[in-house]
Symmetry: C5
Subunit: 352 residues, 5 copies
């Protein structure tokens, strides 16, 4: 999962479109939203050709494409919008790290979206690609999750300033939504970690180890997604481009702060998880200590006593004590003294 | 706690004011101090509108607002002082890292204040926001702690140079007070660590582990607050702005030295705490070693002796030794020899 | 293996050609491919002199030399193509890290190729050297592996844009193929690691340790190869040279992304392997805990019971209980009570 | 100790002189040395006013002040030599890291001096402050240690080039002396570490742990002093100032090399100490292993033998073996065989 | 050893020549080689004055001085060749890190030479100082090892280009020889590590720990030598000087590659050694696990069986079973069943 199965294509020439992911959406869903301050129109495109009219269209067009396994669709769209073949290849090749590439007429942004299925804790991810032109944004998703629904709502209802702004603001809004999902996922992880901390001290079990290990993998994965994400935002802020306005840069700075916040949280989690393994080991050793103490106490008390009984179980003919009437009670007394002595010894050592 | 619950607002458009913290102060307390070299006036504003007159007022005005949960108050104040909506959002959004943003007419500074409740050791924190204009400083606190009381006293009594200086010096004084709280908190932590070091070597217990783990979290938290704090001060020193005078930069350098000192202390504490876990593990193993030695000594001495008694406890009819008169004392002698031999063996190995 | 046996040549003057590797190919195989948009010609050169005609030849010539142990061949080729003696020395000296050197008429690129023999997991490597001139590429391999076969196929069949491009594109294609082998090898490693993770928690064995240690070495080795590889690509992208066209730089950027991806994967693997050792230790301790519990339970139950039987095995003449008819059943009852008490005790402690 | 008790002064305005250290010298000792190539005069100043004449005096004046708890003395001296109030505050505030501040007429240098009391190993430190003017150096020490005596001797006897050089050379000589003390202290630490290495492998004891932990703290402390010290020297070398001549920069480079050397040694020591904890743990486990082996060997040999004697200690009426004459010797033979078998088993496992 | 005993000279003024090492060569050996393309002359100088004639001599003169404990010799030579006193001090002060200093007429280079005595593994080192003038190289060694013999041979026999090149090429050749010794030493270390890896998994012993620890120290030491060595070479390559020709820079780049290679190897070794300690710990725990299993199996089988025999060893008058004829065989059967049950139990747990 972590490693993109690049090996399938050894020998392929670059620029050939082959979808390498394992999430097949059939058929590809294309949604087109065309909007301006006073204007809003949303429709589902039956074929990719329906989107071509927007290349020179009204204020802002947002084309959202769900399912990138049908590479022909991507190819034809790329032709209409004059997208570089390497960009199209990157869109369908889901093994990329987040990055931003500058082209003359558009920016190409690759992001990683996180989501956690509700039933268990495994974190899923999909690649989100954005092509940000002067008047349009084309977004590509691997699966049909309604992650962009809030943005669609805001455009539809004209809430906030989104209807008054350009395609760069729309791109910002989409990136902001992606970042919010990271917070969402990390919150769940945080709760799991809190629960683990208790478990690891009081009830260490091999299963706890497995959960810790899984979380460490997930933190590694999020880390690998968010660091280059931060780089993307940082590049967008620093590098001048007529596609990103001064206004939107202020908002991107906010996204940048969020990515730093996420990195902080991930690093903190990693630190905590690393510490937990040590604590787990300490707890296991503590438990073993308890076990050993019980064994030692019992054995140390009863082995000498058994020795005493062994002596008077011997069958020598000439053992004068065996004839004494007082011997049996005396032996009981002796054993009592030994027993009490042992208990005092253990109390002194704080084992009892 | 560590992670700001950003997820509540997925889909919110930026600029909407929603307080995300959990510290509600009712009602909002507004204190206005207006002062100059010869002049001092302090009053409690009943409504936020009472503060609007100071935008163009006498030498220096300090508006301190406690309680940021009433977002309408913040909004109206922001309008009067022409504060950017994103700044207002950052003030009520308490999940921010310390930062400084430069605007044309004012600086916006976010800091984290630490305080430790007296009864237990959990470190609390609140967000302090400062808006530093040419002639005014507006400070925002989440809860009503008298952290700024010493500064208020200095202004009132005209001690030091505070009455002769501008709003930048006031901002410096407030930041210096915040830094002092870090020293205060770290001092308490240092004492706890000193006590822990002894405990971990001589009386390792699972509770010690929990305290170590808690302190590690706190160090992680302070670290996450103080590093960006240092960045804030460093930016104020390096970046030119007509809002910060040359004079005040000298004082800010002092604050910068303090933040480095705090970072040093936090890193030292982290190092010590990390080492403590190893020592804890060693101590637990040492204890187990002690337990095992006791068991081994007792078992190793008495198991062979019991074997001897077992032999002469057998009921064979033809065991000539059983008839000997000398046998019983001889057996005692044999066992004594074995016992002394064992003791010598253990002494040689330094187990006794 | 990891350390190049430089010591054999202490005292040698630089520029003397001595092959230091251990892979002898006899005889050296020389393949020459001469191609243009419309033109394709492949032949096997009998002697190195057959290659000399291509120094001023048609569009693009690719000379592939397998086996660098025959240093005279390298020397004569170097003479014909006016290659610097230090470059020739670097070609036969297989202990080099990946690097790129700029000369007036050509670039000299050293890479490390990875391959894993199918039967076991040991990762092999060989040094690939490329000399990239205006119209020719000379590639040197240590052993006859068909790693460049896909590129040869693409040229032959005229697939992709390779026939239309210059020698720089050919160099890119070869480097891309090398990078692909890294993915290939890492994929195998990834599967091994997944399998190990289970083994380490549920069946820790000394052999597991050895596999982990071997993988750690391999990751260290790949790391040492891929970091300077990345540097090579980065230098090719950044540094201006009339030998690398703008077009090809776009493709090199893709290779650069791949190397970063590989570095990410290697670092993740290293992190996981480091964590596995801790888990291994925890698992071993857990196992020991289990063993100790069984011992403790059995010993703690039966040692006191044996003590009881020992008492009534004593041969004192005056032990009134021995005469009681009820004594024997009573003793059974007592032992049953002790047994049940112990079981309850262990259940409470969750040892049973 | 590590943390400067800054909390005592929360609310103090900057510039107020309060001594925060715990080393009170009464009364303050002031030594004035005035010297040139041909000229040397040393006297002890009764009051601070006696030093004021030297502000415009002959070639070079060195004023050494021991004891900084009398803040009034510092204040008056500062007035005469026109020292900035923040500098005076830094002199008495002993919690500072080493640093250098540039003022128009003088440099202000803060250093940490180390010394180890002879009887035990605790490393002490005091703050050394230097004010380096064109014709004078004022040095401040917390306690009366003769650390600067060698420099005084060199001036007095006119050894080396010190009498021919300016105040910058004097400052260099003082800094060099401070650095030498670090070597002195580290040498002692090195010997302790060598001794510890043996102890930790052959005789691990909880006391060893405490010594290791103490040394780690000391290394942390030295590290915190020497890194900024290096920065100070580096700044003096790089930054142009008419107070430091080209000649003296050559000598400062030597001091710089020394600080790097010290940093190297400290890092090496830290590495060794960190490794020692692991070795300690291994040694403790090794010891436990030895203990367990003894227990296992004894128990494994004698428990089965005791079982055999137990069988023939049973009182069944119909046990035919009990009647056999050969039985008793046979049983001895059997036990001997079992014993020898066990010994062979343990020898094979290399436990004996 | 690691720490240069600087403390002996606290209070010494800089520039005084005192040899601080512990390798005394008596008397100092001075070899002078004067050579050009056609010319070669080697002689042993009886006194240092014999070398003075070469300051303005024929093409290239190489003066090799073995033994630096006779500081007067160094002093006089320094006078004749106009060497700065600080340089002379650095030559006899053997505690220096590798470095290069630029003076007007010469370069001063300090290196660390490694060599391993054949009988055991301790790595020795000596300081090599080079003074590289326009027409001469003066090299200083502490002890008479024939490390420069190969260079001498090459000059004598006129092999390679050494006779045609200047003093800079000679300096390069000497540095290259020093680097080669590092490879030599590391090769030996590599073989030791390979052997250790096996030992640590299969036969962990406290002696293994000591070897690991020794190797870690040696790696730390080599690291401290090679990093600044790399800096030296890097400075020589980057910084312009009329003493180093363009040609020689190409060769120095080769040395630079070698130093990076050595650093890589050292870091890899450090990584492996660090991992080995963990593996050692795991192996020790594994061994203990084996020991515990044997104990547990034996004890768990025989303690219950002994309990059974204990029961029928009791002397109660009314134990009906004792009278039964079938009892004794039955008890054997019971014990057999218990024994087989235990074996099955242990097999299930994979302990047998």
């Amino acid at each position: 999962m972590v490693l993109h199965r690049k090996s399938k294509e050894i020998g392929l020439s670059p620029g050939s479109l082959v979808y390498l992911g394992d999430k097949k959406e059939k058929p590809v869903q294309i949604t087109v939203i065309n909007y301006g301050v006073e204007h809003y129109n949303q429709e589902t495109a039956a074929t990719v050709e329906d989107c071509f009219q927007y290349t020179t269209a009204d204020p802002i067009t947002w084309i959202n494409i769900v399912g990138i396994n049908d590479v022909k669709v991507i190819g034809r769209l790329g032709g209409a919008y004059k997208i570089h073949p390497l960009v199209l290849e990157d869109i369908v090749n889901t093994g990329h790290r987040p990055k931003v590439d500058y082209y003359d007429d558009y920016l190409f942004i690759v992001l990683k979206m996180l989501y956690s299925a509700t039933s268990n804790q495994a974190i899923q991810h999909e690649q989100i690609s954005l092509i940000v032109g002067k008047r349009y944004v084309i977004s590509f998703q691997e699966v049909a999750l309604d992650v962009f629904e809030p943005v669609r709502e805001r455009i539809k209802k004209g809430r906030g300033r989104i209807r008054e702004q350009g395609s760069d603001y729309l791109a910002y809004a989409l990136m902001d939504t992606v970042v919010d999902r990271y917070f969402n996922v990390l919150e769940g992880v945080g709760e799991t970690i809190d629960a683990l901390e208790d478990a690891v001290i009081h009830e260490p079990a091999p299963e706890t180890l497995e959960v810790i290990q899984d979380l460490k993998h997930e933190m590694l994965f999020i880390r690998k997604s968010i660091w280059p994400f931060r780089e993307v935002v940082s590049t967008l802020i620093r590098r001048e481009s007529q596609l990103i306005s001064e206004d939107v840069i202020l908002f991107l700075r906010d996204v940048y702060d969020h990515t730093i916040h996420i990195i902080d949280t991930v690093e903190t989690n990693r630190d905590m998880l690393a510490g937990m393994l040590d604590i787990y080991l300490s707890s296991v050793n503590n438990k073993m200590n308890e076990v050993m103490k019980v064994l030692t106490i019992i054995a140390t008390i009863f082995i000498p006593l058994s020795f005493v009984t062994g002596i008077y179980g011997m069958n020598f003919e000439f053992m004068p004590e065996l004839k004494w009437k007082i011997a049996y009670p005396l032996i009981w007394l002796l054993m009592l003294v030994v027993f009490i002595g042992m208990v005092i010894f253990f109390r002194r050592r704080k084992w009892l």
